[in-house]
């Protein structure tokens, strides 16, 4: 028989105002097993906790029931109290008589009655509690960062800085991500390459960082502190260790007509290529879709010119298995395809481009060497129209419902840069709202209007009509003037919505990390845990969690790194002891529990049992991995024989509560 102590809290007048706490303490005194019952003004205060501690010692209590606020508030507090007095912390149960009684019922009599019933239920439950000892699992002191854009780079650098090893997996041949394609960055207009490439080099030179470029995550197993990840290194047909990045092959390759993905197809590259001069690692890659040697065995020029002998046409995809304690997702974004918005004529005219394409056109390392020329006839555009919110804020079944967040600012940047470099160019921006919530952001936008004379027009463009003379007739609303405006433009720039990278969905499934309907990863708490996934050990960095600009991405990347460091700094993780447990004597090995377990925590093994007449029986029985089980209880219901039960929320405990409530 348990020796139970009951402690009723007044919570000032919060509880005592509508619950007769003395009556509650008195009524619960006569419950079976209760040897002590009292009330006090604030049980959570030091004095209150001392009352509990003293009672545990004095009355040799084996169970404690506290009638107070929600267990979500102070369960941890009271468990510590019990522990300090030498009682197993899991011998504490809480009856929630504040959120569930005093705050929602005005009637003292009804409130007191309900508080007594809830107290009884807690007593009934604690009578069946058993001391629980949480298990521990070791932490592998290495982190994985998936995605090598600015988010992944920053996270990796910060983790490495704290002394932990970290691997970056990047699907492209180089790290750097979208930021490498940008020209200047708002709101300070420093050049993207100037601030990014040193960080890329830092990554390459840091002893703690390993970069798996041109690689993808293909399988994830395990759990927080102990993930096993399979990384697929795609065949690049070049030996990374031998290639010096001299670039000889990329100049001699005869296949010259390959659309240059780095410049978004605005110019061509060779079939063997290094994406850009500052690539990390600076290693060539063969594009198998275009290489004549790989396609039909006729060429081999790159192998001939390579002094290092790095070319390997027979290279195959290879797989590496690594163990990690934490995983950071930093998979980033892409602009959406504009097929559904042909009223803007993106496919119908070469001079209708996306903002990212404009970045390349303006970049000194871009297809025009930094001179802004129209793609169609390579002439200088004199009138440029920017269209905002193309595919953002849509509810038309074609676009995205969210605001892409970065477009207002980069468009102000583009407009400003163009006006500065080419003062003879007129720039129009059609906008619905200009959204600039960021440090020095609105000032930046105002400068575009006031100092650079960019024409901001409140209204949306309805149609872009290419004219026979090569101009683009832009027809749109000027809502403030209440007129339909027509602008003859030379170049139209569309601010395409951004969406999570296509790889995110399958990765989310592999990591069992939840995602929203737009394929953004969801955070554990939208305000208080913004860089953690609800799945333990998975952290989020950058746009994979939601649209962000560079400053925000970098701060989130740092935050994700600090959470990872906090995890890796621990030698062992304490497991939740309220996990499932199988009674081997009852288990019939049917596998029903294994099928419903979302964590793969249940395994089967053949075990020897004593049979009748000194025989030995071999039976297949389930066992639960305490470190992997999260304690949801799905298996306990699926189990037909009743072998599976959940510690802390056992069948008998819950039924005892039901009985107490229905009494």
């Amino acid at each position: 028989m348990q020796r139970i102590g009951v402690f009723v809290c007044h919570c000032g007048t919060n509880i005592a105002g509508t619950v007769d706490v003395k009556a509650v303490a008195e009524a619960l005194k006569s419950e079976p097993g209760v040897v002590f019952s009292t009330e006090y003004q604030y049980m959570c205060s030091e004095a209150g906790q001392n009352i509990i501690k003293n009672a545990i010692r004095e009355h040799q209590l084996t169970g404690v029931v506290i009638c107070s606020c929600s267990p979500r508030m102070h369960e941890a507090t009271f468990r510590k109290t019990a522990s300090a007095a030498g009682l197993n912390p899991y011998m504490v149960e809480i009856a929630n008589i504040r959120e569930q009684v005093s705050w929602i019922h005005k009637d003292m009599k009804a409130g007191t009655e309900k508080a007594i019933i809830l107290g009884r239920a807690a007593i009934a439950k604690v009578s069946l509690n058993a001391p629980l000892i949480p298990g521990e699992s070791p932490v592998v002191k290495r982190a994985l960062v998936i995605g090598g854009g600015i988010a992944g780079i920053q996270t990796a650098l910060d983790i490495a800085d704290a002394g932990f090893e970290v691997d970056i997996v990047e699907k492209e041949p180089t790290i750097g991500g979208k930021m490498t394609q940008l020209d200047k960055t708002f709101p300070t207009l420093d050049c993207a390459a100037c601030i990014l490439t040193p960080k890329m080099v830092d990554c390459a030179q840091n002893e703690k960082i390993r970069i798996y470029s041109y690689s993808e995550v293909s399988e994830v197993k395990g759990f927080v502190g102990n993930f096993t990840v399979t990384i697929k290194k795609k065949a690049r047909y070049v030996d990374e260790l031998k290639c010096t990045g001299c670039g000889e092959c990329t100049e001699k390759c005869p296949q010259k007509k390959v659309p240059n993905a780095f410049n978004l197809g605005l110019d061509n590259r060779r079939a063997i290529y290094i994406p850009f001069a500052q690539a990390v690692p600076k290693v060539a890659t063969i594009d198998a879709d275009y290489c004549n040697m790989l396609k039909n065995g006729k060429c081999g020029v790159c192998a001939k010119v390579c002094g290092a002998g790095a070319i390997d046409y027979k290279q195959k995809d290879s797989f590496i298995e690594e163990r990690y304690g934490a995983i950071v997702v930093a998979t980033g974004f892409n602009p959406i395809k504009l097929d559904a918005y042909e009223e803007y004529g993106y496919k119908q005219s070469k001079d209708v481009i996306t903002s990212l394409e404009l970045e390349r056109l303006m970049n000194a390392a871009g297809p025009n060497g930094g001179t802004l020329l129209r793609p169609s006839d390579k002439t200088h555009p004199h009138t440029i129209v920017f269209v905002q919110c193309v595919g953002s804020r849509c509810d038309d079944g074609k676009g995205k419902s969210y605001c892409s967040k970065i477009c207002c600012m980069y468009t102000a940047k583009h407009a400003m840069l163009i006006r500065e470099k080419y003062p003879d160019t007129e720039v129009y921006v059609f906008y619905i709202d200009v959204r600039t919530p960021g440090k020095n952001f609105d000032e930046f936008y105002r400068r575009a209007v006031e100092e650079y004379g960019v024409h901001y027009i409140k209204g949306m463009v309805g149609k872009v009509a290419p004219q026979p003379d090569g101009k683009l007739l832009v027809q749109g609303s000027d809502l403030l003037a209440d007129e339909q405006l027509r602008v003859e433009a030379d170049l139209v720039v569309l601010a395409a919505a951004i969406e999570p990278d296509k790889t995110a969905r399958s990765l989310g499934t592999m990591l069992t990390a939840s995602m929203d309907t737009n394929d953004f990863f969801t955070e554990a708490h939208p305000k208080l845990r913004p860089v953690e996934s609800p799945t333990a050990g998975i952290f989020l960095s950058g746009v994979c969690q939601g649209p962000k600009d560079i400053p925000e991405t970098v701060s989130q990347a740092g935050a994700a790194a600090s959470k990872v460091i906090g995890l890796l700094a621990k030698d062992k993780l304490t497991c939740n002891p309220c996990v499932a447990h199988s009674d081997e004597m009852l288990c019939n090995g049917c596998s029903a529990c294994e099928k419903v377990c979302p964590y793969g925590a249940i395994t089967y093994s053949d075990k020897e049992f004593r049979g009748p007449n000194r025989t030995t029986l071999i039976r297949r029985v389930a066992s639960v991995n305490d470190a992997v089980c999260q304690g949801c209880g799905a298996c306990t219901v699926a189990c037909p024989s009743g072998a599976m039960d959940l510690k802390g929320f056992s069948n008998s405990q819950i039924m005892a509560e039901v009985d107490a409530i229905c009494k």
Partner: protein
């Protein structure tokens, strides 16, 4: 409010998952949203922890209505628990209905941690519905009655 002693007060058992619905109930409390004292909440880690046997037991012991609250589909802390709960309860409720426990006495409701108002409104409505149906006499074990 004068409590009329002859008035029927139903016994309602509410199973709430720890992550969403129990937090939603807490929020209802924090916002002082009133609902009848007839509702008593049992905390479970996940809606999928609720064994149909618990519900049968509740009716047997004299409960007049049982409600199961979990996270919204897709929001389960354990990813898929609420889907199991939904499937199990659909089967159980139709069986209970067959046994003569009216469908209105049983319910599954998704309440998120942010939906204190929904929790209170759901409970108010559920209590009202069950009160109208009156005492559960079909499954109640008479030996359990005082």
């Amino acid at each position: 409010m004068q409590v009329n002693n002859t008035e029927f007060k139903p016994k309602i058992v509410a199973f709430c998952c720890n992550w969403c619905s129990y937090a939603g109930a807490d929020l209802a409390g924090t916002n002082r949203l009133q609902y009848p004292a007839d509702v008593k909440i049992i905390r479970v880690p996940c809606s999928c922890r609720v064994n149909p046997i618990f519900i049968l037991r509740a009716f047997q012991r004299g409960a007049d209505g049982v409600i199961l609250c979990g996270c919204h589909p897709g929001d389960c802390h354990y990813t898929t628990g609420n889907y199991y709960a939904r499937r199990r309860m659909t089967l159980l409720f139709s069986m209970l209905d067959y046994l003569g426990i009216e469908k209105e006495r049983t319910r599954v409701e998704w309440v998120s941690a942010a939906e204190g108002a929904k929790f209170a409104a759901t409970m108010n409505e559920f209590v009202q519905t069950v009160t109208k149906l009156g005492r559960n006499r079909k499954l109640e074990d008479l030996r359990c009655r005082k």
